[in-house]
């Protein structure tokens, strides 16, 4: 990583964008899955059986964690623009640790519920 990118504020910014892209890729598949319900319960049950596999479960966990990460990094941007614009992004850069912690907590809760 370039020396000018090795700071928390940059990591928060990149984390926000990458998690957003991952969610954008996920959402069409999510809606396709929901749309199978329009074809009747058998159609939905068939689709749900397809994703009831360990690989999909791990992917779901990753997506929920990314969603939590994206949410918390989004709150950071709002805080930067509306609450703390007189402070530097560096000050809010420490947010990256809190965001990662929050995302892992949400992911952990999901794992606990899946178990």
């Amino acid at each position: 990583m370039l020396p000018l990118r090795s700071h928390n504020s940059y990591l928060a910014s990149i984390g926000h964008r990458l998690s957003g892209l991952a969610l954008a890729l996920f959402l069409p598949f999510h809606f396709i899955m929901l749309a199978t319900a329009l074809g009747g319960s058998d159609s939905l049950a068939g689709a749900l059986a397809l994703v009831d596999r360990p690989l999909f479960k791990v992917a779901e966990w990753g997506l929920v964690t990314l969603l939590a990460l994206h949410l918390s990094f989004g709150i950071r941007v709002l805080a930067l623009e509306w609450v703390a614009s007189s402070q530097s992004p560096g000050t809010l850069g420490r947010w990256v640790i809190s965001c990662a912690g929050f995302a892992l907590l949400v992911g952990g809760i999901m794992l606990f519920r899946m178990a």
């Binding site: 370039l2 020396p3 000018l4 990118r5 700071h7 504020s9 940059y10 928060a12 910014s13 990149i14 926000h16 964008r17 950071r76 941007v77 930067l80 623009e81 509306w82 614009s85 007189s86 402070q87 530097s88 992004p89 560096g90 850069g93």
Partner: protein, 250 residues
């Protein structure tokens, strides 16, 4: 100058390894050794290389005291004002690596073409337009007004292009006007004498304007005079949301 004594009892002068970019966009790295001194800036080193090793080395400087903003270069991977950057502060690995600023065309050696950077100021509407002639009394500016305080906080930009060079959004999208121009636009939006606020706002918030900022914060981290361009950009966004103070008067 740092000296040490070798096992034979002879005085040795410490030297500093320097790698400098030579050429334009296509070029090469050249290595030099200069005397390591207790107290030397990066600009001192570049000057010593030019005077003692490489007379054809091209670089820019003027004031040497952190006022003019003309000596900015990339030092060990980070954009810096070289006249106020001590070598000790940046040579963790022992070698000083100096190249031109990123995100700008390289002309020769350490000199880059600043025209794209200057053009962004026009593009962002960052040009002051007063509304009074010399025959009228000057505009009264209340130094304690909130708007003036916001403008004053962002006013001391020395146009060094360090933030423009540090910004990854500029690196990805050369059409983006960058932090310095938007910071300047923010000062004008808070200047009661500026009569083209609506135009400035339209330009600053237009395509390639402040909406492209990703809040990375590199501009704040590297601004040598410790301004907060990200805060200025946030102010412009807030202004767009609330619609306040976007009017032409004066």
């Amino acid at each position: 100058m740092s000296t040490s004594t070798n096992p034979a009892g002879e005085q040795e002068t410490a030297t500093l390894a320097v790698r400098i970019w030579r050429g334009g966009e296509q070029g090469r790295w050249a290595e030099y050794r200069v005397a390591a001194r207790e107290n030397q800036t990066v600009l001192d080193v570049v000057t010593e290389v030019q005077r003692t090793h490489e007379p054809s080395l091209a670089y820019r400087f003027a004031c040497r005291v952190g006022v003019c903003g003309s000596c900015a270069m990339t030092v060990n991977g980070q954009p810096r004002w070289t006249c106020r950057t001590h070598v000790r502060k940046v040579t963790g690995s022992g070698t000083l690596v100096i190249e031109p600023l990123r995100n700008l065309p390289r002309i020769k050696d350490l000199v880059c073409d600043l025209e794209p950077f200057i053009d962004t100021w026009q593009k962002a509407g960052a040009t002051f337009k007063g509304g009074r002639t010399r025959h009228e009394p000057p505009h009264r500016v209340d130094p304690d007004s909130p708007a003036r305080k916001r403008a004053d906080a962002a006013l001391q930009c020395i146009n060094c292009a360090v933030c423009y060079s540090a910004c990854d959004v500029v690196h990805w999208n050369r059409s983006y006007v960058g932090p310095a121009a938007l910071n300047r636009a923010w000062t004008l939006m808070n200047d009661v004498r500026h009569v083209k606020r609506a135009e400035t706002f339209d330009r600053a918030f237009g395509r390639d304007g402040c909406g492209s900022c990703h809040s990375q914060g590199n501009c704040v981290r590297f601004c040598p005079v410790e301004l907060n361009p990200a805060g200025s950009i946030a102010g412009l966004k807030r202004m767009a949301f609330t619609g306040t103070e976007i009017r032409d008067d004066g």
